[in-house]
């Protein structure tokens, strides 16, 4: 199911929020080239699991083994895009490139990639929800990180946007990275599916 040298191994993970246990005894591993889909009904803990993997939430039990001396830096695409109105699209991306590291492609190239190439000088406050999502996706490209955690990556996107996300994920996976995506939609190329909240 996974390769011999996983990026991440999760063992016996349990998470509770607001006094309610979301899941327990969760275990999986993610190897380079893997696309893990998290599925489950609303409130099953998909987003919370992603936040736990990102180190934001502390698990009630269990262990995250990153197979490294310290947890690597990840890309997180959450419901809030981290996009600043009053900054242009290019300024937004340049900020994240400076903050996360300049190991990816240039901001303008990233905008071209997500179909916003002509809007670089536009105030990000004028973007539609779908365009804002594309800008958030462009943030993943300006810094090269192996593991992407995507929460509802297709939300607010049109059909062309869906194709774009599929292509970005395929490229990430093909480059030896891995993606964990919480989604209610279909994403091609999944190597594993984990269903939370299943009876």
């Amino acid at each position: 199911m996974t390769g011999p040298n996983p990026l991440l191994t999760v063992e016996n993970l349990a998470l509770a929020r607001g006094g309610r246990q979301l899941f327990a005894g969760l275990g999986f591993s993610v190897a380079p080239g893997g696309l893990l889909l998290l599925r489950g009904p609303n409130g099953a803990g998909k987003s919370s699991l992603l936040l736990t993997l990102a180190g934001i939430l502390r698990p009630a039990a269990g262990r995250l083994d990153w197979h490294a001396e310290e947890p690597p830096k990840l890309h997180v695409l959450s419901h809030q895009p981290g996009v600043k109105p009053r900054l242009t699209l290019l300024e937004n991306l340049s900020f994240w490139r400076a903050v996360n590291g300049p190991s990816g492609i240039a901001p303008q190239a990233a905008l071209d990639r997500v179909g916003l190439g002509d809007l670089g000088a536009l105030d990000a406050g004028y973007l539609s929800a779908g365009q804002t999502k594309r800008l958030a996706l462009a943030r993943l490209l300006v810094t090269d990180r192996r593991l992407w955690l995507l929460d509802e990556p297709l939300a607010a996107l049109d059909a062309e946007g869906d194709t774009l996300v599929a292509r970005l994920i395929a490229d990430r996976v093909a480059a030896g990275g891995a993606v964990i995506a919480a989604t209610h939609d279909d994403l091609a190329g999944a190597t594993q599916t984990l269903t939370l909240g299943a009876a």
Binding site: K73, Q80, P81, V83, K84, R86, S94, A98, G101
Partner: protein, 218 residues
């Protein structure tokens, strides 16, 4: 280092494009000075006696006005969550934002202080001491405010609670801030204590605020 500069530069740029925030602080600071003589009366001796306290109260209250925005906008749009995966530690992120906050809330107050000096009929020597005291004391106010803002960022009405939380920490700054202005010539104890307070708080508060942000997000 580039990440630190980027966070600092972005906060300054955003504030510059909004524009109104710094002006509101300055206006509030000057207004306190402008209305005080009307409330106290035209007694110049009394005004001179009260001026150091009035300046510090005006500076403290006007800096509180900008406190809530320190982390709030970044929390609301998800930036704060993403900054947890930045190439620099969260403590450095907090320090950069704290420095930006000082530049945006304390520096305008320092620049506007001559206007308040005129309104409160301070002489040049007292204004000089006031400027020095504000320069040395406001970093501590910003640092304590950073903790208050970090603790309350996840709360719906946190904007009200933050200033209340930082009040006990700010009292020594106000006491020694006024003391630095009213001290006899040659006495530097209050000035040195104020400087020490700022140095220690600026050094430690980013760690405390980062911890508060981590705990608050869980």
């Amino acid at each position: 280092m580039s990440a630190f500069v980027a966070i600092l530069g972005r906060d300054l740029r955003l504030a510059g494009r909004t524009g109104a925030d710094a002006l509101t602080l300055v206006l509030f600071f000057v207004m306190v000075g402008a209305v005080t003589p009307f409330a106290i009366g035209p007694d110049r001796v009394l005004l001179n006696t009260l001026a150091p306290g009035i300046v510090w109260i005006a500076a403290f209250l006007s800096m509180l006005l900008g406190l809530d925005r320190l982390f709030r906008a970044d929390e609301d749009d998800g930036t704060l969550l993403l900054l947890r995966q930045a190439a620099v530690p969260l403590e450095a992120v907090v320090f950069a934002k704290m420095l930006a906050q000082w530049l945006l809330t304390a520096l305008p107050v320092l620049i506007a202080s001559p206007l308040l000096a005129i309104l409160l009929s301070m002489d040049m020597a007292i204004w000089g001491k006031t400027l020095l005291a504000l320069l040395l004391g406001t970093p501590a106010l910003t640092a304590f405010g950073t903790i208050g803002a970090a603790v309350t960022v996840g709360l719906k009405r946190g904007g009200l609670l933050g200033p209340v939380l930082m009040l006990p920490l700010a009292i020594p700054v106000l006491i020694f801030g006024v003391g630095a202005i009213t001290a006899a010539d040659g006495s530097t104890a209050a000035v040195l204590f104020l400087a020490a307070l700022s140095l220690v708080s600026v050094a430690f508060c980013p760690f405390a605020a980062a911890l508060a942000l981590r705990v608050g997000s869980e």
